[in-house]
Symmetry: C2
Subunit: 353 residues, 2 copies
């Protein structure tokens, strides 16, 4: 049903009926840019703003909501502070940029103490220090229930290096900066162990053999190294996005923005052995973790075929497919050689897994 | 008790025990700026970032939390969307700047429909259109309960016009851009009528005689006109801040940042007749509304004595006092001629009225 049909009937549309991306489209479609300084508004990982100098200004913001984006029962507050910054830095790197400033707002219920907040801010500081970002705003207020985190990160990108989702060209190589699916594997392990603990609080779970995937879930890193590597190699990506919602969702974003299709090879998707162990335990194809899991914060990008020799066998860069004609759509070539259209079944803030 | 004493005892400190400003100081004191582009970080209305051109970049963010900053039972969603933008624009104007871009994030519980969100976004759009600001990011996700709004606004200010809280000099005139206390008067009326309605839902309150103060509470405006007026008059304010927490709190901010004192004359504070009516009904001195009410979003600023003739009797600018020596502190001269030290009893997100 369209919006108008619903309105005629005078009925109410549940937000979960239309999904996050369609909702944002619906809400923001009436907005038109009026300022010359707005180079890129809604529709990429960050907004791009004219600075009047050689660099462009980048602006991104992300929210993390208790019970939706994180479960405080197994998320240490220091890790949460760290991750809150990282997920925003990731958006800046996905524009081929460098993050420089961060501002954080948190709304907390009365069950959080000053000491708890200090732990959270320790994580914020660690991320800011490691990624050379300045905290320029810190706003704290109370909430009636739950913890809400809102982070804004700004950065710069050379005018001739800014990379959008929209630049992928036919025959470009699709690459990824690291292994995928680990963060989701970590999430599943944490959820499982929480249930085990709830059933019998004396049963202390042994999670040491899952330490890598749990770290990928609780304390992810952003794509600083990849952006620096591409710069050193003299490679300009044709398009780029960070993997926050799962590989399938992200390659579809690139295809839509670039008006192209893509073929991704299942057996080329890098997956860590620990992720495969967890996938086996849950009896799920590990590729499903990579395609639909999300929160990996690796960078997915496309490069011209001419750069193949430069990046081939580079430790940090994995080629997983290629860009094709828009009519092809986004497809997976399975390990068995079958072609399957990709669907964005990734993380959706209104259709929680 | 200091932080260390508490830690020695191993006790837990409630956030409400230390208040918003002290908490933010405590949490952010360990952060040091590392990037040359960070001109002003925490400690003013907005962050100021080097752009490399003639203009500096301004960045501000603010959160609005259901049950803390607004009561959805008497706040139309369209007004709420409008106000969410305005409170952030106000921070940009307080730097003598011009807002250009906004990004909004909202977390909503399942009781909000798509139609409700569209109403909210209508208000956002109205504010963006009226103030010539582009929406460059719109993020929506779900919350377990309540509505959380997080807005980031960016803008520019000419390098030689940027105005901080810290520039007030002895003998400068303290000015305000419009009447104060009205927003708080509106809030009290709305709260009272809500109670009347709860007691007897058939009793439809007549709020028409309070329309001005209610509008100041629900649909405030930001200081665009004042910034344009100062520019036209060729006046460079020596310090500026927006009145979000009440005049007392704001003048104390200016005094602390400028290492100065101030004298404010009670009988010079502009107060609307409707605000006085409400103050009388609640048996409170109207000046208390102005000093401690907050949410007026007028601009409080200081100018040099040499500009007195230019602004004297200007319709938009009211002189309410003067800057003095730091040893004097911030003081009110009451209508009866008494000198009273001002205290920041304004709106505190952890010590809700």
């Amino acid at each position: 049903m369209t919006k108008n049909e619903k309105n005629k009937e005078g009925s109410i549309t549940n937000v979960s009926d239309i999904g996050e991306f369609a909702l944002i489209d619906e809400l923001t479609s009436g907005f038109k840019s009026k300022n010359k300084s707005t180079i890129k508004g809604i529709g990429d990982d960050t907004a791009v703003i004219e600075s009047g100098s050689d660099s462009l200004f980048l602006l991104t913001k992300d929210m993390l909501v208790e019970g939706i984006h994180f479960d405080i029962t197994y998320t240490p507050l220091k890790h949460l502070g760290y991750k809150s910054i990282i997920v925003n830095l990731s958006d800046i790197y996905s524009m081929n940029g460098t993050p420089t400033q961060a501002a954080i707002g948190i709304a907390i219920s009365s069950r959080y103490s000053v000491e708890a907040l200090k732990e959270f801010y320790e994580g914020v500081k660690l991320a800011c220090d490691l990624y050379n970002v300045d905290l320029v705003g810190g706003d704290t207020c109370s909430s009636q229930s739950g913890l809400f985190i809102s982070v804004t990160v700004t950065g710069f990108v050379d005018r001739d290096k800014v990379t959008y989702r929209s630049g992928a060209k036919k025959n470009d190589l699709v690459c990824v900066s690291g292994n995928l699916g680990a963060a989701y594997a970590g999430l599943l392990v944490l959820k499982r162990e929480k249930e085990v603990f709830k059933a019998n609080p004396n049963n202390q779970p042994d999670i040491s053999k899952y330490s890598y995937v749990i770290e990928r879930q609780l304390k992810p890193e952003a794509g600083k190294t990849l952006v620096e590597t591409l710069d050193k190699l003299g490679i300009m990506p044709t398009s780029m996005i960070d993997v926050s919602d799962g590989l399938a969702s992200e390659i579809i974003h690139i295809c839509k923005s670039s008006r192209s299709g893509a073929y991704i090879y299942e057996d080329k998707i890098p997956i860590d052995p620990e992720t495969i162990v967890v996938a086996d335990e849950f009896d799920i194809n590990p590729a499903t973790f990579a395609l639909n899991g999300g929160e990996d914060y690796e960078l997915l990008f496309t490069i011209s075929q001419k750069d193949f020799e430069t990046i081939n066998n580079h430790q940090e860069i994995k080629i997983i497919g290629y860009i094709s004609d828009v009519l092809d759509g986004a497809n997976l070539i399975t390990s068995a050689g079958q072609q399957v259209p990709l669907k964005a079944q990734g993380w959706d803030a209104f259709k929680n897994k």
